[in-house]
Symmetry: C2
Subunit: 347 residues, 2 copies
């Protein structure tokens, strides 16, 4: 099967680039003694998680228990869930899954830890726990050092929970001082964090500059995307995931319509909605659900009705999440047709 | 099973409201002699398409052949695809499907019509064809009256294609003059359009004011959403689709984190990202993939860790499209668990 045989729109993965991207970050982490734990929320594909593990990753990160279930079933057993799992359904499910692999989670509140502990103890299971630290993105996480120590001690004492250390996102220069202070406070309390887990694509090659970091969680590096290209931390010729689309209408000389819309690309990141590889001067200025409004007035040669083009999305993680199937290609040869096994498992 | 038994995030459909919404628009169309052809891109659920047909809809509209396949298999056979189907894979698939139901499509270009005709003729199949007219949204469609007539005559002559009339979107007051002119030009050429198909949620109860219209395609009315509430054409207490979410972190007195992010709601429409039913003063000011950043400073009683809330999304069609399963409820009783059969079928 060849690229030309695929119907559109289709999510196409350049496997040579995927493998080069995996290797590049792995080599960086290896050279600095950092464990790499790829976040699979970007691809949700067991086959790619296996490529990441084979290259040297210590395990993976998942954001959802549905993703964990898929990856456990695919034979990947060392999984961190850097997310507060709250609610009876969640903790009971975690407790059942904990027997099937080496799972760890992050927590930022006493009640979250206690509810989890109770479910795990009832099931006779254990999970590793990282205390989630607050950061400059002001999302979840503990911001008070005394509370960090108190929560770590509680986790260390509770049945079913094995205290491992701390997690922060992103682990960049701005968050390094608080991270260092937390490590020192925990050390002083006899609660040395053996795992200090960070992440964040923009500074992925500066993780060795963050004192105390032991582990890196990065997702988007496997595909890269236009958000990162425009912000200067990804490269256009390293982007590995594209949406193959067709010109389905040419209503005026300056406007063409592609068959990739907000249900193919998402509107995230705003206009321009991605980058058209074959027509770099084309600008996708608007999306409806199944239509991409494209201004081609600056194109020296304009796309014709029926032409097929590839679009690098703005934010690849949310674009991949829209698709049931990914096509892995080398050049024009379709090497793999993968159901995106962990997508849509929102719980 | 009750609402409290569902894990979060979960897409929850209030079936009493769904049925009332279906009935309201159907009654309007019936009273004005307009055929209603619901666009199922909003829900992608065969069970709801059947409710719409049972209420009096003449058939449905689908935007993708993958959706058509699901609906044909579910026993719904009168289907319009108001989309230019371009490419060998698409037209051959259309030709195969054309034997299974009464299909019609829209076209806006000679080559699109010719390619489709060739595939249908080869298969000994036929589809109805509407000429897609340009409109003020400047998407696809024919904008020149002579070209409208020329294309209609070509369609009328080509094997495999049965000329039916015209389609326009949206069919509102601004587009009525061109629609009227097109109908008059076609009538004058002996190509009377028996179907004049329009649509558009904002003016859904003004379709009878559009001269010549015979059929209305509307999708979002079945659920309604915050985009429409804020723009004044939907009502808050008619919104039928919500995302059930959990408060998973309360890092500061004024900020809570919900477990619904851009992979649950999409970022479309921007902040505020939906409406929190139980805490109307809460403002979801940011989304990461699995986190909703929520400002609760104006809430008289603030949400607690573990609380469950329902969010009405900004744009329900793209939010539904993220989920594998929808839960149909009446009050707190879960009446239906529906796989969203046609979602993710992007081709």
């Amino acid at each position: 099967m060849r690229l030309e045989d695929l119907d559109t729109p289709a999510l196409v993965l350049d496997l040579d680039r995927v493998e080069a991207n995996i290797q590049r970050l792995q080599s960086y982490c290896d050279s600095h003694g950092l464990a790499l734990r790829p976040h699979i929320k970007t691809h949700k594909l067991p086959a790619l998680a296996h490529k990441q593990i084979a290259a040297g990753a210590v395990g993976i990160a998942c954001q959802k228990l549905g993703e964990v279930e898929v990856m456990l079933a695919a034979g990947i057993t060392d999984i961190l869930i850097p997310y507060n799992l709250v609610g009876r359904q969640k903790v009971e499910r975690l407790a059942r899954l904990a027997h099937l692999g080496t799972l760890s989670v992050s927590v930022d509140a006493e009640s979250t830890a206690r509810q989890m502990s109770a479910a795990l103890a009832a099931e006779g299971a254990t999970v590793g726990v990282l205390i989630e630290l607050a950061s400059t993105i002001e999302r979840a996480g503990v911001s008070d050092l005394e509370e960090v120590v108190r929560l770590a001690r509680l986790v260390d004492d509770l049945p079913g929970l094995i205290y491992r250390g701390v997690a922060i996102y992103p682990s960049n220069a701005r968050n390094a001082p608080f991270l260092t202070a937390a490590i020192e406070a925990l050390d002083a309390a006899g609660l040395h964090p053996t795992v200090v887990s960070g992440g964040g694509s923009p500074t992925m090659f500066h993780q060795h500059e963050v004192p105390g970091l032991t582990e890196v969680r990065i997702g988007t590096y496997i595909f890269e995307d236009m958000n990162g290209v425009r912000d200067g931390f990804f490269k256009l010729d390293e982007c590995a995931a594209t949406l193959l689309c067709t010109v389905v209408s040419t209503p005026t000389p300056d406007r063409v319509i592609l068959d990739g819309g907000s249900k193919t690309l998402t509107t995230e990141g705003g206009a321009p909605h991605g980058y058209v590889v074959e027509f770099p001067e084309a600008k996708i200025y608007g999306l409806n659900e199944e239509h991409a409004f494209t201004n081609v007035s600056d194109c020296p040669v304009k796309p014709s009705l029926g032409d097929r083009v590839r679009i690098i999305p703005n934010h690849v993680c949310v674009a991949v999440n829209l698709h049931n199937v990914a096509y892995g290609v080398r050049g024009d040869h379709v090497e793999a047709i993968w159901p995106i096994a962990a997508r849509g498992l929102v719980q």
